[in-house]
């Protein structure tokens, strides 16, 4: 595995604007969701009834909103499992789809691939940029969330539950990023893969939510990573799922290896 520092630095610099904008949005909503908890706590009865009337009991329960006002971690978890994870996954998957395909889309591939570096060097350098972005956003968002929870909590919170939820989120985002990278190598470089990525992530999240609404549709959740790496701490026996985590990391590695093999052999059309 060869990392070309020149390419890595340049690509990191090139992606800084997206990282800054998406990072700012994620940090902003993290602060906002945790900061409103003191105002909302103690409203479980009123808000719970209102939500059940609006969404229905099954949907409220499936989205973890039935216990959300009981403590700050439950409150944060409800928002994390819908909004924050969506933005986190979308940003990373979109970055992953563009990290290599963008060179072909912008016709700069001819410039880059005639430099004395192997295709594998290009792939790993860009993959590392993708991982760096993922890591930076994860650390910043988790750090700010932890800080805000400590600031706005009204009762003690379980750090292991917080960590389990965030590491599940990280593995899901990593998986979708690798899916994005895989798609971008196997499909012709289009204008943007945003539609495909949004459809995939929203689809998986909604399938998981529907699957929790009734036993008869439980099977729908089996194809969604959200089913195996739960983000709602209100679920019974919530904790870090080691085996699904290993499986999804292994799946991610497989997708990366398949993408690399294809990338090494494909024609660069400029």
């Amino acid at each position: 595995m060869g990392i070309n520092k020149n390419l890595y630095r340049k690509d990191l610099h090139r992606n800084r604007r997206g990282l800054f904008i998406w990072g700012a949005i994620l940090l902003g909503i993290t602060v906002m969701f945790t900061a409103i908890f003191p105002l909302m706590s103690g409203m479980q009865d009123v808000m719970g009834t209102a939500m059940e009337e609006f969404y229905g009991e099954d949907m409220t329960s499936s989205m973890g909103m039935d216990q959300m006002f009981s403590d700050i971690l439950s409150f944060y978890s409800t928002y994390y499992s819908i909004y924050i994870i969506l933005l986190f996954c979308i940003y990373n998957a979109v970055t992953a789809t563009g990290i290599i395909a963008k060179e072909e889309r912008n016709h700069t591939s001819e410039f880059l691939y005639v430099k004395p570096i192997t295709r594998a060097d290009v792939f790993w350098s860009k993959f590392l940029v993708m991982l760096t972005n993922l890591g930076v956003i994860f650390v910043l968002q988790s750090g700010v969330a932890l800080l805000c929870i400590q600031l706005f909590k009204t009762t003690e919170v379980s750090m292991s539950t917080f960590a389990a939820m965030h590491f599940h989120g990280l593995i899901i985002a990593l998986f979708f990023s690798c899916v994005g990278l895989f798609i971008s190598i196997y499909m012709r470089p289009k204008k943007s893969f945003m539609g495909v990525v949004l459809g995939l992530i929203f689809g998986m999240l909604i399938l998981d939510a529907i699957s929790k609404m009734a036993d008869a549709v439980n099977f729908l959740g089996y194809i969604s990573p959200f089913h195996y790496l739960g983000l709602q701490i209100s679920d019974e026996n919530f904790g870090f799922n080691t085996i699904p985590a290993i499986v999804f990391i292994a799946l991610s590695v497989t997708l990366v290896v398949l993408a690399l093999n294809k990338f090494k052999k494909k024609d660069i059309l400029g």
Partner: protein
């Protein structure tokens, strides 16, 4: 040893065959032309040599190494000038050239300023603000910074004004004198005629001829214009003459054959003036394509 060898190279895009058994050998220190109209397969051949495209059949060797297996090693010593210049819009020329140079072990970034000065390129302008010609100048500079041993040029003069073209050719000849081999692909025949010693002619993905440029021209039909001292009566033309026309004491005909035979025939005529018009490479090229 040949610097560049292309052996039985074929390339398919699905059912479409872009190249058919292309064979080219470029000797070390040579300026080798590659002539063909747009879409004939010139860029496909070059992109396969550079490892951007994978050959369907055949092989390409650079410096004796298989260019598909030793891409990194050979690219260290190749300077490539693409036909279409696409760079990172957000960079300026200086940043782009420095970024490009950092990929090479032996790139000399101090040459950036002198070459930019030579080609009158403003290094502070963003790539997105450069005209096609200025992008081309930037591409020429980036192809030379690492002292390449082989220059692969794809339509290098497109977009350059005549003054810059002259400077470019001067620079090319200077590089060639230093021992740099040049593979010069173009559809502009006067460019090929100006600098190349040999050239391959490609037509619909197939090499139809590999010729010494001078021989290529000499082989072609010449136009002969004579002014005789007296209007000729029953003039017998040399063998190889065609399209004969006589008007008073002026005689014109086309000639294809040994120039010595023509010279001998001319000495038997009572000449006032003679003009032997060499075909341009364009004529030669058209002949290849028509035949």
């Amino acid at each position: 040893m040949n610097t560049l060898e292309i052996n039985d190279l074929s390339k398919f895009y699905g059912d479409f065959q872009a190249l058919t058994k292309v064979n080219i050998n470029v000797k070390q220190g040579e300026i080798y032309g590659f002539i063909g109209p747009n879409g004939a397969g010139k860029s496909t051949t070059i992109r396969t040599v550079l490892g951007l495209l994978k050959p369907s059949e055949g092989s390409t060797k650079v410096f004796g190494l298989d260019s598909q297996k030793n891409t990194k090693k050979i690219l260290e010593k190749i300077g490539y000038l693409p036909a279409e210049v696409n760079y990172y819009d957000e960079m300026n020329s200086q940043q782009l050239l420095e970024y490009s140079a950092r990929f090479y072990k032996n790139a000399d970034t101090s040459k950036i300023a002198s070459l930019a000065d030579y080609f009158e390129l403003d290094l502070t302008k963003k790539i997105r603000a450069l005209s096609f010609g200025n992008k081309k100048k930037c591409a020429i500079i980036q192809s030379l910074l690492h002292e390449p041993e082989l220059l692969i040029l794809d339509e290098p003069t497109t977009g350059l004004d005549p003054l810059m073209q002259n400077r470019f050719f001067d620079l090319l000849e200077e590089e060639n004198k230093k021992g740099v081999t040049v593979f010069f692909s173009s559809h502009i025949l006067t460019d090929i005629q100006r600098v190349c010693q040999r050239a391959a002619v490609i037509k619909k993905g197939e090499i139809v001829a590999v010729e010494d440029i001078q021989q290529l021209i000499q082989k072609q039909v010449k136009e002969i214009k004579l002014v005789l001292n007296q209007a000729p009566i029953d003039l017998s033309f040399p063998s190889g003459a065609s399209l004969q026309e006589t008007e008073g004491n002026q005689v014109t005909f086309s000639y294809e054959g040994d120039v010595n035979d023509l010279a001998k025939w001319l000495t038997t005529q009572d000449l006032k003036d003679v003009q032997i018009i060499e075909p341009t490479l364009d004529t030669v090229f058209i002949n290849y394509y028509e035949n």
